[in-house]
């Protein structure tokens, strides 16, 4: 709740700029954000996908390749903005790290970030995975793809 201001007239929680109590507000998303990863937090679906794609490309974890890998497997278009924002968020949570490679000509003289997963990132992936596998225990009949 730390992101929300107190209403000037005192009383309830009011979203800034919308002028409405946030629970009533049907549209705005991402009202609660900006935490760091605590021990119990699970990774979001897209975060998992990004981390797995980085793992798949351990030597060349470039944004373009990460995006391509996810798009290929999920067969859906990944918004560039969503990817960059997620990478940003994963970095602020300490789950990924990056190294800057020197500028090249075919990038218009711009440098390139090579992403890599941190031990904490690997931990997070493992935890999410084990939660999923524990919850799916005994459901193999239902969850395995039909032959």
């Amino acid at each position: 709740m730390s992101t929300h201001s107190q209403d000037r007239k005192g009383g309830g929680q009011v979203l800034p700029h919308c002028g409405i109590e946030y629970t009533m507000y049907p549209i705005r998303r991402n009202c609660i954000r900006g935490r760091s990863m605590s021990g119990n937090d699970l990774l979001g679906e897209f975060e998992q996908l990004v981390l797995l794609a980085i793992l798949q490309h351990r030597d060349d974890g470039y944004a373009i390749l990460i995006r391509g890998a996810i798009e290929e497997v999920t067969d859906r278009a990944i918004s560039r903005g969503a990817l960059y924002r997620t990478l940003d968020r994963l970095e602020s949570k300490g789950l990924v790290t990056w190294e800057l490679e020197s500028p090249t000509r075919d990038r218009g003289g711009n440098p390139r970030k090579r992403f890599d997963i941190t031990p904490a990132g690997l931990d997070g992936l493992r935890r999410s995975r084990s939660v999923v596998s524990r919850l799916s225990a005994g459901l193999e009949d239902l969850l395995e793809p039909a032959q």
Binding site: G108, N110, K113
Partner: protein
């Protein structure tokens, strides 16, 4: 690799992106990713790749901007926020924008119709404003235009003759720092593949220095180039011609070009922003005025003749000198000249000074141009108003549908300001999108306009810089955003009116009398009125065009080829010219299909005219004048037949009218009516230009200067007896006139490849020049009027269909009580038609008032033309009936039970 270097994403987009994202590791790596992908896509198509890049950049920029603003806002609040800040404002704006986009995407039909109708309105305004900006508003690139003065020889803007110019320049050194002059002329230039005619200006030595125009290359003409007649062949190229002919090659300075059969040294290139003395007419080359007579082949003694007026003079006032002082000095010079040359100074001639800054073209044309420009802006303004009324009307309808949602939000504590902000953002977004569509439409239509083929002589180029400059774009942005704010504010305020209790109660019970209804009805009435005004204007213009098309010019009925040539006097003697013309006439007569060939020195209804002095015994000249002035030309024996001009009495010219015989003339009917009321003109002797001349025949009337003029008297002199080296040859044919015109041109060139050709065209084109302005005017006004009618019908349709949806319950009750469907349909239609009726009445009254202002632009139609004033209400009534009946018919689909249950 080097080829790849040239492939680059749009630099502006990249720069903006870098500005937004910063040049840190985050920003530049993202830009690098984009660049890399862009290169991959560019191989499949550069433009698509650029489009893709721009689209991606937009998305990233939006996302990042929102994020960073939010971050800043959080920081701001920690610092004890609550203050207004840019970050907060932008954040709110971004949020409102996203919200608005989502809302608009929810109802794509509404969005599309709104954007389209606004786009049409804004597009019409942008296009017309560009035109007005280019023609009327944009200043010539002169230094200190406020101290420049144009000098004419009459109040309507007659040009000076060169001797008068010289005398005025000499006599006005007390008030003018300089008096410059220029004469427009066609120049015959030799090019690799033959000859081409250039639009030229022959200018005095101080022409460029006086106006402060600077060269783009080399130097411009100066006093050192103003020497003796024919002595100094140098030329300055116009910027456009330099690009067209020489591909902007800078090495052209110092090289030679052939003009009028003589080598000229190119000394420089005029700047791009200066296209010549007349706005819109692009000058290809500037030569010293002293070369003028030679360039025209020596047949015209322009520099010596006090009677030939084609010099445009411009003066620079000395510091501290007022217009009044300058006028006094010019008046003194004029009096001296009048005493010395009474013949050349009839009473209507008088030096007239006009401040250059107040001038568009010349005073006579300005008097039509300014009201025409004002009229066009009013027309497009009305179209925009109608489009905006549609927007407001749609918004009111939507607002009414959202009242409950808004009321709930207000009840939950939302601030009204916030909600109004959201609604306004939506409207302004709509109008901005409409503006973008409008500017695109404007660019398209202006390009079409520039590409239009006007019946102008030679390759004369009429070009206006119709590019969207800052003035035009500012105008469009102001209009778009202004329209959004203005027409969005009322609906926004109305729908957020915090009269909550009232709204939260089920208001449909009241039969749908929403508070927005009155305002919407008023808007529709306004739309109808504005449409009526435009339709009446369009009707009047169409009728006027029709009237001008039906005017009998008195000549040129058969398909006819026209060739204007000048047999250069420095290459041909008078006898040789006569032989050349006779031979050419014979050659043309042999072309299959040709019926008759003749020539004249001046074809009626061409630009410019020849004035003859006429003295008739027993008829006194007008007061203050020594003689009558009539229009006339010199023709050969076959001209009347070739032009199709009737001979009513006496005889035409024939071989008996020899060079040194008794001078003879033909006169038209109007001249007989004015000067020989008894009708006994044939056989009488009059004095024309001081020569005793016998009238041998009377011809039918032809229009002389303008198609819509009051008939003027006219005199035909015999060309053999009044030799001139420049003539217009006419050949009527039973075949195709276009083909004939080309054959005539090649026949002339076959006889002498260097013969000076001024123009080659057909009679049809020649006559169309006279009504082209009317045609265009009518086309534009009719187009806008129908656009207005279309937009107004959309508005009406919207109002009626909304009324139907609001009154479903009422209709259900009526139907279940036994009302017939048809009577309910007519009740709803009638509601719409009542609005139309009142709008029609107001519109007709306004149109009647406004049509008086139009009368100057009309021909052959009274301002209160009955056909127009009856026809317009009928057309509009039918369209309006359809627009309200179609949605009203929807009630037939209402089932009474369902309707009663529906709320």
């Amino acid at each position: 690799m080097s080829e790849r270097d040239e492939i680059h994403p749009p630099r502006v987009v990249e720069r903006i992106l870098r500005l937004l994202l910063g040049s840190g590791a985050d920003g530049s790596s993202i830009i690098g990713d984009l660049h890399q992908e862009f290169l991959g896509r560019a191989e499949r198509g550069l433009w698509r790749a650029r489009l893709w890049y721009t689209y991606q950049a937009l998305g990233i920029a939006l996302g990042y901007a929102t994020r960073s603003m939010r971050r800043e806002r959080r920081r701001g609040r920690l610092d004890g926020g609550g203050q207004w800040s840019w970050a907060g404002f932008v954040d709110t704006l971004m949020f409102n924008l996203r919200y608005a986009i989502r809302r608009l995407r929810q109802s794509p039909v509404f969005t599309l119709v709104a954007i389209l109708s606004l786009g049409l309105g804004i597009g019409a305004n942008t296009a017309m404003f560009s035109l007005v900006n280019a023609i009327v508003l944009r200043d010539q690139p002169f230094e200190d235009p406020e101290t420049l003065v144009n000098v004419y020889e009459s109040a309507s803007g007659a040009s000076l003759s060169y001797p008068n110019y010289e005398d005025l320049a000499e006599g006005s050194t007390d008030v003018f720092a300089g008096l410059s002059g220029t004469m427009m002329t066609f120049l015959q230039a030799d090019v690799e593949d033959g000859v081409e005619m250039l639009v030229g200006e022959a200018v005095t030595g101080n022409y460029f220095s006086l106006t402060g125009v600077q060269p783009a290359l080399g130097r411009l003409l100066g006093d050192e180039d103003h020497v003796a007649p024919g002595a100094h062949p140098v030329v300055v190229l116009g910027h456009g011609y330099w690009g067209r002919r020489y591909g902007n090659d800078p090495s052209v300075v110092g090289s030679e070009m052939r003009l009028g059969g003589r080598q000229y040294t190119i000394i420089g290139v005029a700047p791009e922003e200066y296209t010549g003395i007349f706005r819109g007419v692009v000058t290809d080359a500037y030569v010293p005025i002293m070369m003028y007579d030679e360039l025209l082949g020596g047949g015209f003694r322009q520099l010596e003749s006090r009677g030939r007026h084609n010099l445009l003079a411009m003066a620079r006032l000395l510091p501290g000198v007022t217009m009044v002082q300058a006028k006094a000095v010019a008046g003194r010079v004029e009096n001296d000249l009048r005493e010395e040359y009474p013949r050349a100074w009839p009473p209507e001639r008088s030096f007239t000074l006009v401040s250059t800054a107040d001038l568009i073209l010349i005073p006579a044309i300005d008097r039509l141009l300014v009201p025409a420009a004002a009229m066009l802006m009013i027309v497009v303004g009305l179209v925009l108003l109608i489009a905006c009324a549609n927007l407001a009307s749609f918004l009111l309808a939507r607002a009414a549908d959202r009242r409950k949602e808004i009321a709930v939000r207000l009840a939950m504590g939302a601030r009204r300001r916030t909600l109004v902000g959201q609604l306004l953002t939506e409207t302004v977004l709509l109008s901005t999108l409409g503006g973008i569509a409008g500017v695109a439409l404007a660019v398209l239509s202006l390009n079409a306009l520039l590409a239009a083929d006007l019946p102008l002589p030679n390759d004369m180029r009429i070009t206006f810089d119709l590019s969207l400059d800052t003035t035009v774009l500012t105008f469009s942005v102001l209009v778009s955003v202004g329209a959004g704010l203005l027409f969005g504010l009322a609906p926004a305020l109305q729908s957020t009116n915090p009269d909550l209790a009232l709204t939260l109660r089920d208001e449909t019970a009241g039969g749908g009398r929403a508070r927005g209804a009155a305002l919407r009805n008023l808007l529709v009435m306004g739309q109808v009125s504005a449409s009526v005004v435009l339709l009446v204007g369009a009707g009047l213009f169409l009728r006027s065009l029709d009237a001008s098309r039906n005017i009998d010019p008195g000549f040129g009925y058969a398909p006819t080829g026209i060739l204007e040539i000048n047999v250069q006097a420095d290459r041909y003697s008078e006898e040789e010219t006569q032989i050349y013309l006779n031979t050419l006439q014979e050659r043309i007569a042999q072309i299959p299909g040709v019926q008759s060939v003749g020539y004249t020195t001046h074809l009626p209804l061409a630009l410019g005219t020849t004035i003859l002095r006429l003295e008739v015994d027993g008829i006194d000249p007008p007061p203050d004048a020594t003689d009558h002035r009539v229009d006339g030309s010199r023709i050969n024996d076959e001209f009347l037949a070739a032009a199709g001009i009737e001979l009513l009495a006496g005889r035409g010219f024939d071989a008996t009218d020899v060079v040194n015989g008794e001078p003879v003339a033909l006169v038209n009917e109007e001249l007989v009516r004015r000067f020989f009321p008894q009708g006994d003109a044939v056989g009488r002797t009059v004095r024309i230009n001081d020569a005793e001349t016998q009238i041998v025949g009377v011809t039918g009337d032809t229009k002389v200067r303008r198609i819509g003029e009051v008939q003027r008297p006219y005199v035909f002199l015999n060309h053999r007896q009044n030799f001139r080296p420049a003539v217009t040859i006419l050949a009527s044919t039973s075949g195709n006139a276009d083909a004939l015109a080309l054959e005539m041109l090649s026949a002339a060139r076959a006889l002498d490849p260097e013969i000076m050709i001024f123009n080659s065209q057909t009679m049809e084109r020649h006559l169309s020049l006279m009504i082209v302005a009317r045609e265009w005017g009518a086309l534009v006004v009719v187009g806008f009027a129908f656009l207005a009618l279309f937009l107004a019908s959309i508005g009406l349709y919207g109002v009626v269909s909304y009324a139907v949806s609001r009154r479903t319950r009422e209709v259900g009750i009526r139907l279940s009580l036994g009302a017939r469907t048809s009577s309910v349909v007519w009740m709803l239609t009638g509601g719409g038609m009542k609005l139309v009726g009142s709008g029609l009445l107001v519109g007709l009254i306004a149109a009647a008032a406004l049509s008086q202002l139009l009368s100057r632009l009309l021909y052959g139609v009274p301002a209160l033309d009955p056909l127009t004033f009856v026809g317009v209400p009928v057309v509009l009534g039918v369209v309006a009936l359809a627009a309200s009946w179609i949605p009203a018919r929807r009630v037939t689909r209402i089932s009474p039970v369902g309707a009663l249950r529906s709320e």
